[in-house]
């Protein structure tokens, strides 16, 4: 007879084993009382756990759950966002005090702060959702005074969550947010740069827990931020860069 392993016992309890395999396990259980006792106890657990809050299924669904929150919460999000910037900068700068020089807020820093503020946001991560991508891009393009585009990162597993307009040290900033199936988020920060148009190389900066790849292209600075390893972020940054500079 085939050796019955731990996973088989669970599969048996959960009804995931059929036919001959099921009969085989039953034969095994007949001669292995300890396993049989566990199987009995686990099946009982299943029944008890199902019974535990089954009454909830019959309760009427609270009306609040059926209503999508309307326009008002966008305003609330904007207000909360302004407040959160203060907190976020404080959090990020804490670690910076040990650096014995004054660091002017660079593109990478600002992008990392904006990432740290909005990426953990559950309720209001963006002002306009990715489902209104066209509207989002048009709106942000208008505010930044250039034709923006939201890179397509779906082939890498990242979907556009949406975006928001932020205020940077050099004027309006667009932030696009992406998320993968596990909830890991990336943000692309686009800001107008003061001075003569210039191009820079692709650069990396580690801002506290946030990794940032950034570059300047003409009058605009781009920064891709994520709480992940450099190599992992580089793959995405590479794609973003190529899409924006075809």
């Amino acid at each position: 007879m085939k050796q019955v392993v731990e996973a088989d016992l669970h599969a048996y309890v959960d009804g995931a084993v059929m036919g001959d395999a099921r009969a085989e396990i039953e034969t095994w259980l007949a001669s292995h009382p300890e396993d049989a006792e566990r199987v009995r106890a686990y099946a009982e657990q299943n029944a008890m756990l199902r019974a535990l809050h089954s009454h909830v299924l019959d309760e009427p669904v609270p009306a609040a759950m059926l209503a999508k929150r309307s326009v008002a919460w966008w305003r609330y999000a904007a207000a909360a966002g302004i407040f959160a910037i203060g907190l976020g900068s404080g959090w990020l700068t804490r670690g910076m005090f040990i650096i014995p020089q004054i660091v002017s807020p660079s593109l990478a820093r600002q992008a990392a702060i904006a990432h740290a503020v909005y990426a953990p946001e559950v309720r209001h991560p963006v002002e306009v959702g990715g489902n209104e991508e066209e509207h989002l891009v048009r709106w942000l393009s208008k505010r930044l005074g250039t034709e923006l585009q939201a890179p397509r990162l779906a082939p890498l597993g990242y979907e556009l969550v949406g975006g928001r307009l932020l205020s940077g040290s050099q004027g309006p900033v667009a932030q696009f947010m992406y998320q993968d199936g596990r909830g890991q988020r990336l943000t692309l920060y686009v800001s107008r740069q003061r001075g003569e148009p210039r191009d820079t190389a692709f650069r990396f900066s580690q801002e506290d827990r946030v990794s940032v790849f950034y570059w300047v292209d003409g009058n605009f600075g781009y920064a891709l931020s994520g709480e992940m390893r450099r190599e992992q972020l580089l793959k995405v940054a590479d794609v973003v860069y190529k899409q924006l500079n075809p």
């Binding site: 731990e6 996973a7 669970h10 599969a11 959960d14 995931a16 566990r38 106890a41 686990y42 657990q45 299943n46 008890m48 756990l49 199902r50 019974a51 535990l52 809050h53 089954s54 909830v56 299924l57 019959d58 309760e59 669904v61 609270p62 609040a64 759950m65 059926l66 999508k68 929150r69 953990p120 559950v122 309720r123 959702g129 990715g130 489902n131 979907e159 969550v161 199936g181 596990r182 909830g183």
Partner: protein, 166 residues
């Protein structure tokens, strides 16, 4: 546009799962509310034809884990070595569901999630693996540890006496 009734259909089950997961009624309602809000906003990310329920559980898991990090759902630390369930005189005496709830609450969150998705929501191991974003081997080991711990908690001291008899 969002086909909302598709999601609405799943609300009762989401509520039950949230309730089992966090215990407290009001905290559970918050969790469901946050999950739904996120689901409405991200419905475009759902691939039609894929399992909507599993997708909703994934969102709830993400919301739960994110919020837990920020301590909003106040997850209690699992208690170790604590006799959570009063030992009952007769083994035949039926365990009360309240005891089951307490024992469940003492499981580490990651084991509790897997156990509830398998036992109550009856997701397949593969669906659980997808919903929680963990390998199937991890699903099995959490399930195994969770069930065994729950069994020991609910069996009280009878487990020890069983060993003595043997």
């Amino acid at each position: 546009m969002v086909d909302r009734h598709l999601i609405v259909e799943h609300i009762p089950r989401l509520r039950r799962y949230a309730r089992s997961l966090v215990g407290d009624r009001y905290v559970a309602e918050d969790l469901v509310q946050d999950t739904l809000e996120r689901a409405w906003n991200k419905f475009y990310l759902w691939r039609p034809g894929s399992d909507l329920r599993a997708w909703l559980f994934t969102i709830m898991h993400n919301v739960f884990v994110n919020e837990a990090r920020r301590r909003r759902y106040e997850i209690e630390q699992p208690m170790e070595e604590v006799p959570l369930v009063p030992v009952r005189g007769a083994q035949s005496e039926q365990l009360e569901l309240r005891d089951v709830d307490r024992a469940l609450r003492s499981l580490p969150v990651d084991q509790r999630e897997v156990l509830l998705l398998v036992a109550v929501e009856q997701l397949t191991y593969e669906e659980v693996s997808n919903a929680l974003g963990i390998p199937i081997g991890t699903v099995m080991s959490r399930l195994s540890r969770g069930r065994e711990r729950l069994r020991q908690l609910l069996a009280g001291r009878s487990l020890i006496s069983l060993k003595v008899v043997k």
